[in-house]
Structure formats: C-alpha cells, structure tokens
Symmetry: D2
Subunit: 343 residues, 4 copies
C-alpha cells in the first residue's frame, strides 16, 4: 500500500533522528537554554538573514498559532484571515479559546487577497460603530496555503503595505514552509522574514518528529515570552528536543532540500494524473499538496493502490481528492503508483 494521505504520517528525516541520537547523552539546561537550541537559532538567523531574530521552539502548529497570535494581539483585538485559513477551520477554536475573534474574509484560491483585505479595513475604519466591533490587530496567512497555493512576492509586499497602513501585525503560518519555499519562484526565507512581524518554520510536516520554530525577525518579541509560552502550555521542559531537530534541519540546507524533493515528486504526480490520467486539477498548486478532480467511478481503483484524502464532492459524478508528498516520499513510491495506475 502506498501512502499519500499527509505529510505527517511517519517519523523523522534520517539526519534529524541521527542528531537526536548523537546528542542524547549530553546534559544541558532546560526550557530552551541549551547549546543545541542556540546553534539552531544561529543557523535559522543566518538562513533568514535576520541576525537579531528572537526564536522560540514549540511543539506543534495549532499551539504555535494560538500562542503567538495571543502574544501579538491586544486582548480586544481579532485576527484577520481568509475563510479557508487553518485557524478558522481546523484548529478546534484554539484561537477563540484565547479570547480572540477570527475574522474571516472570502478566499481566492486559498489566499487572502490584498484588495479584499484593504476593502474590509476601509469599511471597518469608516464605520461609526467600529468601537463596538472587534478591532483588527493582526493578519494571518499560511505559506503555502491549505490548498497548496503560494503568495507571490508582490502579493506579500502588498499585504505588508496594507498592514503598515493600518498598523497591523503580519503573521505567517509556515507549517509547510519547506515546500512553499521550494516551489516559489520568487519568495525566499529572507524575503519572508523581511516582510513579516512573526512567522513559524514548520518542523512536524517538514522532517521533524515534532516541533516548530517561531521567528520574530526583528528581535522585537513581546516581553516575558517564556512566561507567555508556558501559560499557554506550550513550553517544553526538554525544549532542546526541538532545538536539536532544527539544528539538523538547518545544517547544510537540509530543510530546503527536503522541500525540493517533495515538490519535485508532487509535480511528477501531477503530470501523471493530469496528462496521464486526464484528471483536471481542482486547484493549481505548485507545492507538495496536489488536488485532482476524479470520476467517482475511479475512486475504488485508486483506493486499492494508495491512501489519499477525499477533499470534497465536486458534482454528482466527481470528487476532489488530495495527494500529498513529503520529505519521506521516495521516488520509487511515485513510480510504483504510476505503474499500478497505468495497468
């Protein structure tokens, strides 16, 4: 059986595991104050071109989003995002659990459009009753998005400009950042860092056992981050476990290679399904998540050779499905898939 259900269905990239092994016996300080975490921070600062960045290691994505947005927002502020945003749909209300409204704007291809955002903000600030509404404090986007799509550099710059105009923080959820950076024609990690107030570099879906690296690129993280993080239950006693993994991921460009390999295999999948099988893409994704519109009649045959996700019904006879590659997907698996489906 072949597996394309998700990018978090096995362990860790081999070099990551190896580094956990080789550092295992060394005694260090806890709560992130260890030399592995320090090295990982130095590597990330260099890769992002942000020598002053504050960097924190948390365990998972939902936790990171809820914790960091709560740090960025005043208690009476909400966060703007598009309606398909992960925090709006798939985090069981973790952001609202910290008391903040998630304000959703209709998406275009899984993205928050700059013009829609500006229009919303103009209406809000023109409204006489604005003080009775939830004040916007930050903008949340994902890179890549939940639909695998990417913001172009121009789109990011435009969002940044709106945020500046309205004094909003720009926060990027990079759960799948390695795949986004690998697929983007123009957005690099330093550019992303330069345009945002905070973002996180995904580990869990990008080769680590667990863990995400939160970056405040300008070194202006709110005060008392350790207390803030712990109050959200997000401080790992043995925080080095994440530090060690990011040290490995940011050694010799591993994080970027992981992304490139997965994206390359995703493109092969796409070529096969679109050109070989004649399926239409459900959305035009350049990253490791691929969505195809499949005749319902084909679903059983597909299921016999591979695991994948039903995304949504398209019409009475067609279903959109999602195939995901990851750091763990091997070339042979894609070949085997195409072979079996070509019989």
């Amino acid at each position: 059986m072949l597996h394309f259900e998700s990018d978090y269905n096995n362990g860790a990239q081999e070099a990551v595991l190896r580094h956990l092994l080789e550092t295992n016996d060394e005694r260090t300080q806890s709560y992130g104050d260890d030399r592995f975490s320090e090295h990982a921070r130095a590597f990330i600062r260099e890769a992002a071109g942000t020598p002053d960045a504050n960097i924190y290691f948390l365990a998972g994505g939902t936790q990171t989003n809820a914790t960091i947005l709560d740090c960025l927002l005043e208690p009476f502020e909400g966060v703007l995002c598009c309606d398909t945003a992960h925090i709006n749909v798939h985090e069981s209300g973790a952001v609202e659990a910290t008391g903040h409204k998630v304000i959703a704007i209709p998406n275009v291809q899984g993205k928050l459009m700059c013009d829609d955002l500006r229009h919303w903000l103009q209406a809000y600030f023109a409204d006489d009753t604005a003080e009775h509404m939830v004040r916007p404090g930050a903008v949340y986007i994902t890179f890549p998005t939940e639909l695998g799509t990417l913001y172009s550099l121009d789109e990011l710059k435009a969002l940044r400009e709106v945020c500046d105009d309205y004094k909003l923080k720009l926060y990027v959820d990079g759960a799948r950042l390695c795949y986004g950076l690998a697929a983007s024609h123009d957005v690099t990690l330093p550019q992303l860092a330069a345009l945002t107030d905070a973002f996180y570099i995904g580990g869990t879906k990008c080769g680590a056992l667990c863990g995400e690296a939160v970056v405040f690129p300008r070194g202006d993280a709110p005060s008392h981050m350790l207390s803030r993080i712990k109050r959200h239950g997000a401080l790992l006693a043995k925080s080095r476990v994440v530090g060690v993994q990011f040290e490995a991921l940011f050694t010799d460009g591993l994080y970027f290679q992981i992304g490139q390999q997965a994206v390359r295999l995703a493109q092969r999948l796409r070529e096969f399904f679109v050109n070989g099988k004649g399926y239409r893409p459900f959305i035009d994704s350049p990253t490791n998540q691929q969505f195809f519109i499949v005749p319902n009649a084909d679903l059983d045959a597909l299921r016999r050779v591979a695991g994948f996700e039903n995304w949504c019904p398209v019409d009475a006879d067609h279903t959109a499905v999602r195939f995901v590659t990851s750091w763990a997907t091997r070339e042979e698996e894609v070949e085997e898939l195409t072979r079996l489906l070509s019989l």
Copy 2:
C-alpha cells in the same frame, strides 16, 4: 562536571530512542490513531489494571494539567491543591488562563492533608455565601510531590473518600510517577488508577524525549476529547511520536526499572550527604529528588564538582539545595561525586 540539576536535562532512555528509530519508516494515521499508540495504550491498560481506560498522549506536563483539569471542571469550578502544588506555583498561571481558580491549602511536607481538605470543604459548604465563591470541582495532587515526598496508600484512600463525599474529581499529576512508584512501600500503579478519576504518567522526566500519557482509568473521559485537546493546542499531529515512546517505556517493565535505578542512586546520594558529610535533609524524601541543608561555606566546593539547584535559604548560614537523579544518572556519576567530595 557532574549533573544533578534536574531529571530533564538530556535526551531519552536508550530503548526509547531505539524504538523511535525502528518505527521511523512506517506510515501510520495521525492524531493518535496509529498502531504504536494503540500498543502503548494496551500496555498501559494492562500495567494499570484498567482494561477500559481512555488514554491520550500529550506533549508536556503543564499543558497536560491545564488541558485535563479544564476538561474535568465545570467552567465555574476551581481546583483544590496544596500551596506548593506545581499548578499553583510553577506553571505561569496556565490553569487560570483556562478560567479556573487554583485554590491553595497549606501543605504539610509538600502534601495536601486529607483533614485540611475536609476542613476546607466543610467550611465552604457551611458558608451561606458559597455560591459567591468558586465552587470546588476537583482535587489536584502530585505523586511524588514537588518536594519528593509520597502519599501513602492510606492517605490516597482518605483523599478519595473526601472526594467521594463532596463529589469532587481526584486528579494526579504524575510527572515523576516512575520515581514515586519505585519508592513507594504500598502504592502501585493499579492502586493509583483505582483511586483516581484521571492521572498522567510522566514521560518527559522519566526517560522520554517528551510526552505524557493521560489516563482516565474507568473509561469515562469527557466526550470529544480530541476537540478539547486540540482546542488547548495540545494535540500533536504526529501524536505517534509519544505513543512510540510509551510503547518502549511500558515494554518489559522498563518504566518501573528506570524509577528503581534512579531512586537507588538517590538513596546513595542521601546516605553520603547525611551520613558522610553530616548534612541534614531539608525534607525526608524517598524519591529521586533529595534536599539537603548545606552550610553556605560549602556551596562553592559543591558547585565545583556538580550542578544542583539552590532551593531556598534556610538561615543566615545555611541553604537548602536539591540534587536530582534520573533515568540518565549513572552509578559512576554518583561514585565520582562522593569520591570528589570526600577528598
């Protein structure tokens, strides 16, 4: 340099790491729905004598306490504990961040005394203004306590009886459970399970890289636990990472051996410091945390050979210090310490 600062200052027990390695390539479902987690649950159910238990794997202790107490309590209820309790002192207000008051009762040797608890409850329920006060909904204890002490079986039974009389949930924080079970004369895991409504088996401080196993021994966990846990940011996408580790910890009694070894070495430390050096114990701890009253004049010499924690000043000339052994402490380290301090 020798290290006795804490039980979370290196990686994982060797068998735990090895199991992470050997399971690494297998593809599984996410969010806890994988065969490793299922095995781990089965092993824990057997070890605890609770065939119907609901078991969840979370990443860390503070997160677990805040999440599970929030699940056990009605929104208007608070949790009773002794004043030295971890949730009252050292979790940055994580429980209050979920909206619940932590109601502290003075400790005796780090423990919540049954009589003090009953007295508090009698006064509360006799008070005409009780509805204006925070209603008690659960009792939180640690096993072992923050001061290394243990509840006897009779003490646990007495607390259970009070909880039954007043319809309170009894929750046990087992961050260091392996050391507590190894040191206890009479409390076993099945007994602990039989006497509590929920407890967690600590992984982070007991040989795992990270992770705690929450147990509802009678299988009566609140509905929709996945949503509840995720809402608290405590659901790991790759939850199997914790499941795999607990599978290793509960294979062939490893979890219990880890505790026994650390407790044995802690007793050697104690014998040396008390009998050899003539230091008085600060508190009579049978577990892996040992507290001694040290003349301030000796502190520098101690510091030169070993890392440990200053606990609190005792008088103008003496300080209480804490030495901690763990699953990672080696016999040779204790010998080296006694050798160097005997010179």
Copy 3:
C-alpha cells in the same frame, strides 16, 4: 430637534419609574431573592405560558448574550448565527472572550435561513475532519433582527426542528422583543417560549432604565446559575432594580402596549417616507426600526430636522438610513417630522 437615532436614548417608561419610586424604601434580600423579582418572574411565567420557567435578571444585552451562551455551550462548542447577528458584529467580541467561536452563515433579510443552517450542519457532520473544527452547540437568532425583520412562526418551527435533529440549543436575543411581538402576525410570547431553550426579554430598549430578563422556559437552566452569572460579572447586588422594572413592564400588558405604540408610529414613518417622499425601503421591516434609501442630496435637509443613523452607502448617490421609534416616541414627534419634511 427630533430624535429617531435609537430606542435607548432616554430614561424609562413612566410606569416603570413610578414603580421604582414606590418600592424604593422597602428592604429586601439581594441578588434577585426579593419579592419584586419574584412577582416579576410570576408575571413573566404567566405571560409566556411557562409555569416552570427559570428567570434571571441581568443588566444589559451584550452581557446577557455572552453569559447565557457560555452557560448553554460546552467549552469546545461554538454558536451558529447569521453574519449580521449582533453577537457576530456589534459586541466587541464578548462571546469569543468567553472562548467560543461565533460561526456565521450568510443572512437573508437579516435572518438565519433554516435551509442554510441545515446545509451547514449536513456539511459539518459529513466532514471527516469535524473533530478538528469547532462543534456547533447552539443557534442564536434575534427577534426582531438587527434589520428589523421577523421570523414567521413557520420559520421558527423549522429552526427548532433543525436544532432538534442536531441536538442544538436554540437561543433568542430579544433585545427588542416588545416591538417584534407587536409586529408579528403569528408569533406570540408563549409560542416563542415553547420553541426555544432560552431567550431574553429585552428591557433596556423596551422601556426600562436597564435590564434584561433571561428565560429558560422549561425550567432546565444549568446548575449554579448564580455562580455562573456572577463569574461573568453579570450579577447585580441590587438585582431587584431590574426585578421592579419588569414587574411594572409585565403589569396589565404594559410591555405589549409599548411595542404596539412604537410599531404603529414606525409604520406611519414608513408610510410617509415611502408614499409621501417616494423613498424606497432598504429592507421590508415591520418593526420599530425602519430603513430607507435616501438620495444623498436630501440628507442635509433630513439632518436639520431629525436625528437618525446612516446605515450604509447604497450607491454613489444614495444612502440607507435608519429611523427608530421606541416606547418614548410620541405621536406629536412623528407628526412634526412629517410636517417639517413636507414643507
């Protein structure tokens, strides 16, 4: 200057004030346990045909919505409403501040349509990832709506049926209930009570100085309501102040007369603006809030004779405006308005 800005811009209905005066010197118990509040409850139970109802008096509408929804919902549940709902737009995030997501469905004429609700619920429960989403626990509607419109009896019954099918609570915000009941062709207070799990009878906008009466028609209010209400800061020490006012409002049908008078005057306004001035209604409202599309060229002249609210721009040349009558609007004021605008 004439005033049609809102229904909360002066004091209280004369009989309400008089009753505050005549009861002023009597000493009573506090926190709602007084004979005036008991009378008021008895009057409301009779008017609503709900002999077993639990009734609580709170100070204001936003407080009531946030408090009661938090009582109706499990911590991990959200509340469904239409996008124009007061809780979604104009309560500064008070519901989210209690940790619950407000899930908005597009409105039709200010109303939540039964079919849209059912469609949303079908999609939610058919979704494999439902546990990662916020679970719906209650439906919130306003009667009348923020746009002055009303649900018909059939519409309410249909919403009730959906709520039953999906085990959701149905909660009605009756901030302007007296106007809604006066204008409805078919919905009576007993019918509203019979179809809902909880609702509030608005006082602030319906003739009281302040205060709203929350009704659990079947007497199944959650336990410990006093504690729950106080925890939300919503328990008035001198709760009788609201009780006394509702005693007056529900004596001799005053509450219903107040509504009828305001609705009658609103209809006169409407007749004048639509037939006399030729303005199109912005929405077809049968209640005390009337919305007209006014040529921008007329706005200044309107402003010179009366206060009203700009609702929203309609096109480059037209603006929707809102005129509100209330228990305090006098026949002469409407006549004067029509006279001045007819010159």
Copy 4:
C-alpha cells in the same frame, strides 16, 4: 423588623431617584456620551482633584473589578491582594475567568500589609524560577476593607512606594468608598486619587440603584476602553442611567454626607453593643460595617428584632455577627433597635 443585613437591600437615595425622574424625558447619546455623564465626570474630577481623569460608568462591583483589572494587567500577569480580598473570596472567580491569577497574601485586620507585600515581591524577584510563576502586575486593595477597616494615609503611601519600586499598578475597590472616606482620619478622595492608578467609586452600596464610577486619575486609561468594557459585557447602552445617578451623588457633597450619616449611626450601634450590651468587637472597624462577638444564647433574641449576618463561629459559645448601616438607615431604626434590646 429592623434591617442591618447589608447596604444594598433597598432602592436609591431620594435625590438620586429624583434626578432620574427629572432627566427622564431628555434624549441623549448612548454608551456614556451624554451630558449627564459628562457633568458627573466633571463633578468627580473636581471632587478628586484630578482634572485629567478618565472616568467610566459600569453597572456593578464584580464586573468592574474583573474588567478593570483585566485592562490593567498584561495577559500573563496576576494581581496581588490579601486573602480576605473580595476578588479572592466573593466574586465567583470572575478575575480568574479573565485568565489572571489572584495571588493572596495573608491579611492583617482585613488589610494587605506593606511589609508582607514587599517581602513577597522580594522573594518573587529573587527566585530563579520567577518566569515560571505568575508575574505580579497589580495590587488590589479595598477601601474600606471587607472587614470594615481602613488603610491610613501612611499605609497607602507605603503601598504606593512598593508599587513604584516594583512597577505595579495600584487599584482600589471602593465599593463602600463613601463610608471609608467618612470614617478616615486622614485619607481624602484627592489623596486616594493621587496615590492610585485606578479606583472605583462605589454607587450600588452608597445610594445609587446600581452603578460604579471607574477613575483613572491621571488620564492614562488604556486605549479603546469602550471596546474593552463592552467585550466584558460591562458597557451599558443606556450608560447615562449611571451617569445621572453619579451627577446627583456628587452634587453638593451628597456622596460624602451619605457616608457620614451611616458611619455616625454605625458608631452608635457599636457604642450600644459594646458599652451597653458588653459584646466585644470582632474587629475594630471605624466604618459602616460593625462586627461583634455575641453569645450564642443571645442570637435568637437578636434575630427577633433585627436582620443581620452571621459572620463566623468564634468558639463553641460565641458567634461573630455583622451589622451594617447604610445611606438608607434612619436614626429611628437605630434607636428602636437599642430600645428593643434594652428591654
């Protein structure tokens, strides 16, 4: 039957009610933006000697404490108070419901002692693990206290100094402020204002139907107070209802006279009980709450003539009871009480 149970068991002071009547028909803006509220603010600013003060009118005390403390504190901060403080005991966890820990220090005569506070802070800031504990952000005191006692001017200055040393906000709950100011030998409203960051002037217990006036004496209230207050459900649509009442209370020194009369009658009660009946005071209170130690054998006879509160058992044969006078207590009532009990 005579009533000394509390100071919130009847309506409002006559001049307050009269002013509600005489302003009733005037149409004003809502949400506090009306001329009555503006007058009331001007009167309070003058009485407090704080020309720049920001002043907000809320409905009740618990609501005010929870809302304003949440505004003063960073999310990760807690509030220090003595263990008998109203927020710690009798607000059903309203402060914790906003996510903040209430940190209790043992009281002395119902007061937070400056030395105890300083000692606590020294220990906190000397603790290596301080970041894992809840950071103190504000100090809460009541004037007068829950036991009727008062801080002297020197005690307030000393608390201010500690707050300055540790950068804490000083917040005063003035639920019964009129009685405290009337009884104090040295603390005036301007002095209280000069020494605090925020305080509230109690209305509900001091002659109003409902309502409290929050004062930020230096005009440095946090931004967006209207949104913050509404988010807590504490914004009254018809906020003028409180404004009108405070306008009356601060006209011609009424607020201060109310306090003086009640304190004078409380002293007469005390003289009678202590000198006439030979009861010992339970605590030495100069304000409108008086506590006496009464032989249990006398309780029935007392109950036959007057309502009062059992405070707590003192020993097997004695009970502490509380008698409260208020703005509504009449000279004749005290005389009647002494007459009946002297028979």
